[in-house]
């Protein structure tokens, strides 16, 4: 791994004609250049497709979520129309930890795929819940728009009103560990 060549911003990576632009690179004139510092990786070139050159950041790959990125975050406020949450980490297991939380919104219609009319925000999330969601758009000037309308998406960790840890017992309910108290959530299917 340490044998990999390290590219620096501004370093020429060859003509565009024979290379494909990948992450961490950019094109200037007819040449491909590095735009971040990190190990350079080249995909296998085939007869018709030129190799794809990309540079990875030494620490995780992403700095910000992109459309389609799975994110983990905590619900910060809810109202009848939407739930606000702070994105804390990127990736379905949150491997990329963010230095600062990013504001995001799950709109009521994006909570579930089915029975959208029946779903309510309070019946799906409570402040403090840890949710897994996927970014569906860059959203408004402040918040990303995210969706939990998929089985493996939704609440992954929750604490009961009584302050006890809960575990999912169905697709719509959590239950206190060693307790009987149940609370309604949009539960993320165990993967």
């Amino acid at each position: 791994m340490s044998s990999t060549s390290i590219a620096l911003p501004g370093q020429s990576l060859g003509p565009v004609s024979s290379n494909n632009v990948g992450a961490g690179t950019h094109i200037h004139g007819d040449h491909l250049f590095a735009s971040i510092a990190g190990p350079l990786t080249t995909t296998k070139a085939s007869s018709k497709v030129p190799p794809n050159l990309s540079i990875a950041r030494p620490t995780g790959t992403l700095l910000l979520p992109e459309v389609g990125t799975t994110v983990l975050g905590r619900i910060t406020r809810t109202n009848p129309r939407q739930a606000n949450f702070s994105i804390l980490a990127l990736g379905s297991t949150g491997d990329v930890v963010l230095a600062e939380p990013l504001p995001a919104i799950i709109r009521q219609q994006d909570i579930r795929l089915t029975e959208i009319d029946k779903v309510t925000v309070p019946g799906s999330f409570r402040i403090g819940d840890m949710v897994r969601a996927v970014v569906i758009s860059f959203g408004d000037e402040r918040a990303y728009f995210a969706s939990t309308a998929r089985d493996e998406l939704g609440v992954v960790m929750a604490v009961s009103e009584g302050g006890n840890r809960m575990v999912p017992v169905s697709w719509r309910e959590f239950e206190e560990v060693g307790g009987t108290r149940r609370e309604a959530r949009k539960v993320a299917k165990v993967v």
Partner: protein, 378 residues
């Protein structure tokens, strides 16, 4: 500078403007030639209570007023006599006053070297204009005698919201105001408390209008420097760019020029166009860098930003979208050819050279502007 936002132009308009300005010759929205300035309103001596004043109004509505006021001040020379003894007092720390005491050590003996007696702090200016203070001549004319000097207060007032970089407007106005500034004639002798002739007619201009070779050294024929805004788009170099033009600039420079002091006093610098020298230059962050890039047609079907809570919310549609990687590739390959993309990188040295040349060369833009301003009726 606060980020310049609120550019009213769409990516399409920006793209169009950029291409038309990149033509040779460039096609400017208002049909000007590259070196042509927009007509401006200028007047001087508008403030009777000042020693000199001017007002300039650009067609884009930006307007500035400058007032110059001169006051007699006792030259600070604390402990000067003691210092004569040869043991110097040197400042460590703030107290600029202290520092200049050393200066007294050199010319304190009363030898008649005139230059280098002026001090920066004799000119108090509201906004730091590049190189105004660099002009030693100005400061020296403020010297009255060993004990007294003029203090010049230059108050600059920008009357309007700056639509673009305001420095040129301010410098031109200041230039005019200084040209129109007059100081009362001195009638007292040597180092005694100065007495002045209250006859305004007898007063001497800070910057004599026309040069007469016979005049002594203390009068210098240099006009106050001016600062001009120059921008490049592709190959073109444009002067006095409008706010719209700046929105597509590749690079913007603010250049300050002053007249070249004739190397030998006998040269007929009066009849031929005086040469100009560059005395300050700085790049200005072009607002174009903050403009929004366009979306290449290939991506148009799926917009990546939905400020309006459209149907794009559902998972279904987001499946169709190209991966982030593909988006990047498409945008990069386009390189702003088919749609507008904010400029990247800087400006090449060669272009800078050309810009400088265009300003300072004999009969260049710098000369034109100064002539134009000299023509302003007072």
């Amino acid at each position: 500078m606060a980020p310049y936002t609120g550019i009213p132009l769409s990516p399409a308009e920006l793209s169009y403007l950029h291409t038309s300005l990149s033509q040779d010759p460039p096609i400017r929205p208002d049909g000007r030639s590259p070196t042509q300035f927009r007509p401006l309103v200028a007047e001087t001596d508008i403030l009777p209570s000042t020693n000199g004043s001017a007002r300039i109004c650009f067609p884009d509505g930006t307007e500035a007023i400058v007032g110059v006021k001169a006051e007699v001040e006792k030259t600070r020379a604390a402990g000067q006599d003691v210092i004569r003894g040869g043991e110097g007092v040197l400042g460590l720390g703030r107290g600029g006053g202290r520092d200049v005491d050393d200066e007294e050590m050199e010319d304190g003996e009363g030898n008649a070297v005139k230059s280098g007696r002026g001090r920066d702090e004799w000119v108090e200016i509201a906004i730091e204009l590049p190189a105004l203070l660099a002009d030693a001549g100005l400061k020296d004319t403020l010297w009255i005698n060993n004990r007294f000097h003029w203090r010049l207060y230059i108050d600059i007032l920008l009357l309007s919201q700056p639509l673009s970089y305001p420095l040129p407007l301010l410098s031109l106005t200041t230039h005019l105001a200084l040209l129109s500034t007059r100081l009362p004639a001195l009638i007292s002798e040597q180092d005694e408390d100065p007495l002045f002739n209250d006859d305004w007619e007898a007063s001497t201009p800070l910057y004599p209008r026309h040069t007469n070779p016979s005049s002594s050294v203390q009068q210098h024929h240099i006009k106050p420097p001016i600062t001009l805004l120059v921008m490049t788009v592709g190959p073109a170099i444009l002067f006095d760019p409008s706010a719209d033009e700046l929105a597509v600039a590749d690079a913007v420079l603010a250049l300050s020029v002053a007249q070249q002091l004739p190397t030998d006093a006998t040269s007929k610098s009066s009849d031929q166009a005086p040469s100009f020298k560059l005395i300050a230059l700085r790049t200005v962050d072009p607002p174009s860098r903050l403009t929004a890039g366009g979306v290449p047609n290939t991506l148009n079907t799926t917009t990546t930003t939905t400020t309006s809570s459209g149907t794009s919310g559902t998972m279904g549609s987001s499946q169709k979208k190209p991966t982030a990687g593909e988006v990047l590739a498409i945008r990069e390959r386009d390189q702003g050819t088919s749609v507008w993309r904010p400029p990247r990188g800087g400006v090449s040295r060669a272009v800078v050279g050309r810009m400088i040349k265009a300003v300072v060369e004999r009969g260049g833009v710098g000369w034109e502007v100064m002539e134009g301003l000299a023509g302003v009726e007072t």
